[in-house]
Subunit: 339 residues, 2 copies
């Protein structure tokens, strides 16, 4: 008897059954935004609630990839299925193909319980966070117990991916100089656990102190930083009684990894078992939905108003109209009701 279900339903079922090739195919389809990709996401979404989404971020040079590698081993030792999404152009998980880095994690590619997908080779930044957060869905539905999302940077992209994570691990290392400041601005909004990697190097304790100082400074986010954007407010929802722990480790030698895993587990339990944890989850879910909504709106607007937007841009460039009035005119054309 022929299978009369829709192709997307068949494919989704294969993913749910743990078929790696089906998962890889679905990831490509979503990545390329082929017709029907939303249908696929819809089919898969209800089956994603068992995965723990773990964001891993930090400055370049902190050893994020080595640490990710070591974490994969830890999760595999517990017999968990692991998904890895690498959005970090410096990661050997993804950068190898471009710049000749060796892929140290070759062994994981031969482990059928580890699925690795890189998003760093498309060359454009704008859509990265969106693709990455979309890909969490199929990887979770495939049955990953944990999905590691490795990102780099201090920008909006990283923040958006962090909102999709349950737990965010920020990796620091001694001797990165200014980097700690660069990362600082973004850290207070998203760090749940800190790892000070390369803890055998001089300056590790100073790095720990730096982080403690940052945490002390950031404990009371100023109201001015919260005032403007609801997305920011949601992302900043005070984390109740969770104080981000700082774990020293040497990922290349596996030192401190067990301790790190315990701290990550503790954050997961806090999320699942306390009212403050539930509040953090809800806050991030809210911020995440908001950004999905903004992306959907942008698509919709472009499809509807492409010529009008182009004409408005020309007039702004010629100083015939200011951008704020131009935007109001454009909104008028697509939004229901009085403004």
């Amino acid at each position: 008897m022929p299978d009369t279900r829709r192709p997307s339903a068949v494919l989704a079922e294969r993913v749910r059954a743990g078929d790696v090739r089906a998962l890889a195919r679905v990831c490509r389809m979503i990545d390329d935004r082929v017709k029907g990709y939303r249908e696929l996401l819809r089919e898969l979404f209800p089956h994603t609630n068992k995965a723990w989404i773990l964001g891993i971020t930090g400055a370049p040079g902190a050893g994020k990839s080595t640490l990710t590698d070591a974490l994969i081993r830890q999760f595999r030792a517990r017999d968990e299925r692991v998904g890895v999404l690498a959005v970090d152009p410096t990661s050997p998980f993804s950068g190898g193909a471009i710049l000749g880095d060796r892929i140290r994690m070759q062994q994981h590619f031969e482990d059928s319980q580890v699925f690795i997908r890189s998003l760093a080779t498309r060359g454009a930044l704008g859509g990265l966070s969106r693709s990455a957060t979309d890909l969490i869905c199929p990887v979770a539905a495939w049955g990953a117990g944990v999905v590691l999302v490795e990102t780099v940077g201090v920008g909006q992209d990283e923040l958006e991916i962090t909102r999709a994570a349950h737990t965010t691990l920020v990796v620091m290392a001694p001797g990165l100089g200014d980097d700690i400041q660069a990362v600082k601005a973004g850290i207070m909004e998203c760090a749940d656990v800190f790892a000070v990697n390369k803890a055998d190097l001089a300056g590790a304790d100073a790095t720990v102190s730096d982080i403690e100082q940052m945490l002390a400074l950031g404990a009371r986010p100023s109201t001015s930083s919260l005032r403007h954007s609801a997305a920011t407010v949601a992302a900043n929802t005070p984390a109740g009684h969770w104080v981000p722990p700082i774990v020293k480790c040497v990922a290349t030698r596996g030192e401190g990894m067990h301790d790190l895993l315990q701290k990550l587990d503790a954050h997961r339990r806090w999320l699942e078992q306390t009212p403050e944890g539930a509040q953090q989850r809800a806050g991030r879910a809210h911020a995440h939905l908001l950004q999905t909504l903004q992306a959907a709106l942008a698509d919709e607007l472009l499809a509807r108003l492409e010529p009008e937007i182009a004409e408005a841009a020309r007039r702004v460039e010629a100083r015939e109209i200011d951008p704020y009035s131009a935007c109001e005119d454009l909104l008028e054309k697509c939004l229901i009701g009085p403004r």
Copy 2:
């Protein structure tokens, strides 16, 4: 006779007359989004067409701030009025107050023809790019011949600020290791001129080669990176016959600064005098308007649908509905016409 004009018109006129205190006040008002700030922006916008917006970006540790400092001197030597907006938390222009960096640029604060404003102290990242691009308007209307916007990072924020710039200078330096790769992903979309700072250090020529290689690789952006987002498409508009020059310099000693200035001037002329330059300007203006529009829409949506969005986020978190369907339902509630 009492002045019967609106307060915003009076304030705008003082800014246009070159009043630094009025400018500082307007910047605060815009930064804090006080009632009437859009009115102010509207008053000022028609008077902004004489300023050259120069974005300065690159990895932490490349010496951006020292180079910015040296550029300010160059522009002052030509008797140009200079505005500086620092969105880089590692910059002494902005980070000093938090982490005790010395403000090397103290002298500029005493020069009435140099206006410096930091945006790095608010602690949140999400709204930074928006505030920065909004502040370009009053600084330009104040009569700045050039507005330097100093940013850091590889994320969406930086990309957004770059779209508001006429010319983007990317600062690199030898020995930053992985940083060049971290910056790489964002560079091809926005670099008009490269400076290899600290060119007296070993490895400067290797850094120049790295950049040349990147440029060669990036000369033909893959179609897949262009397909998804119109904003990305606009930002990627091929730059015609402009090949980003690479200038070696030692900003601390002022070496190479004259050459750098000439290359920046050349890009400005290219923008103003060639069809390809006009095309680049138009492309960035389009991308910039689009992001202003998205921000305005997000504000509007939040104001209208706050409770509905919160409820939808709760249902998504509970897996009662998938985020894609939730977004479609929400769009249905606010957009005119069929979807």
